[in-house]
């Protein structure tokens, strides 16, 4: 019975659609380029908006409201980052919920060093963090 695993053929019972790998990189590059183009457009539109609003004379309360809103955004951002930094046992879904890609990359390396495999694997029973 111990030999069960040795006898097991290591071939995986998985298949892929015909020609899945052919043309994968072309398809993916098209997707990446479309994504880049959309992001570039977004940046350009933002610049135009900034230029348009730069000279406008807003009423005082409007400026206040903008300031308060900006402060709120910064606070939320700081909280998110602090939470992410403080939580050592970060899980996949927390990373997933990170507000921006940058935060994702910030925690990416951390996440894997805290996969907790070491701890988890030393025990027979494993508790899901999810």
């Amino acid at each position: 019975m111990e030999n069960n695993m040795e006898n097991m053929e290591k071939k995986l019972p998985f298949e892929v659609p015909e020609n899945y790998f052919e043309g994968f990189e072309e398809k993916m590059m098209a997707k990446i380029e479309a994504m880049e183009a959309a992001e570039a457009k977004e940046v350009k539109m933002k610049k135009v908006r900034d230029i348009n609003t730069a000279g406008s004379s807003k009423p005082m309360w409007g400026k206040w409201a903008t300031g308060v809103a900006a402060a709120a955004v910064v606070l939320v951002g700081v909280f998110t980052v602090l939470n992410l930094r403080n939580d050592v046992s970060q899980t996949g879904e927390e990373i997933m919920m990170a507000a921006s890609d940058e935060e994702y990359y910030d925690v990416l390396n951390e996440e894997l060093s805290t996969l907790e495999i070491e701890e988890a694997l030393a025990q027979i029973e494993f508790e899901y963090e999810y």
Partner: protein, 207 residues
């Protein structure tokens, strides 16, 4: 190395040959890094990177998520993450390891997402995955292989990850240690426990 390659061909020892090819690819991939970080050569290098790594990363992911459609999604997300973060790659680890980590993380994230979405389903997520695997048009397992996959699915997610890398991908403990950031000792213990669990599961099913 030539002699080794000759021996591999002679005995058709696929495992060692694959490792040799992987090493050769490793060099080619490392050479792509400066090109990936230069905007002028980035697109071309990215296409080349995908050409060299798509099979390895796909199969790594597929073993985790089991269903082709999901593996395809995760692979695409992986390359998008690589594209977006390659500029910040500073070479603290090997590039290949770094990519593997992203793929692993993407697969774990995907499963966490799925687990949350299926929280209402009156069924363990693992059983649901097996059900979906068996219904997948691109699953072609016989009774024994299905039983083996079911046995692997009884492992905790991260133990399953280690088991797959060691058993199916023939990775060395040193490599797995680098990818997962875990000590080799812990990995060996983990693999041993996983193998025992799987054997026990299969034995139970047979009795």
């Amino acid at each position: 190395m030539k002699k080794l390659l000759y021996l591999c061909t002679f005995f058709e020892n696929k495992c060692v040959t694959n490792r040799y090819i992987a090493m050769k690819e490793d060099n080619a991939i490392d050479k792509l890094v400066p090109m990936l970080q230069n905007p002028a050569t980035r697109n071309k290098a990215m296409a080349e990177l995908m050409r060299l790594t798509k099979h390895t990363l796909y199969w790594h992911i597929r073993k985790m998520v089991l269903v082709h459609e999901d593996a395809d999604d995760v692979l695409q997300n992986t390359y998008i993450k690589i594209w977006k973060s390659v500029e910040s790659f500073k070479g603290e680890s090997q590039f290949y390891t770094w990519m593997y980590r992203i793929a692993t993380n993407e697969a774990l994230t995907f499963m966490a997402q799925q687990r949350m979405q299926n929280v209402q389903v009156p069924m363990d997520y693992e059983d649901l995955m097996i059900e979906r695997m068996e219904a997948d048009a691109y699953y072609d397992g016989d009774a024994m292989q299905t039983k083996f996959q079911k046995a692997i699915m009884t492992l905790p997610e991260k133990q399953r990850l280690v088991f797959n890398m060691r058993y199916f991908e023939d990775k060395s403990y040193a490599e797995i240690a680098e990818i997962t950031g875990t000590s080799e000792g812990a990995l060996k213990a983990s693999y041993h426990i996983a193998a025992e669990k799987i054997t026990a599961y299969i034995k139970n099913q047979d009795d």
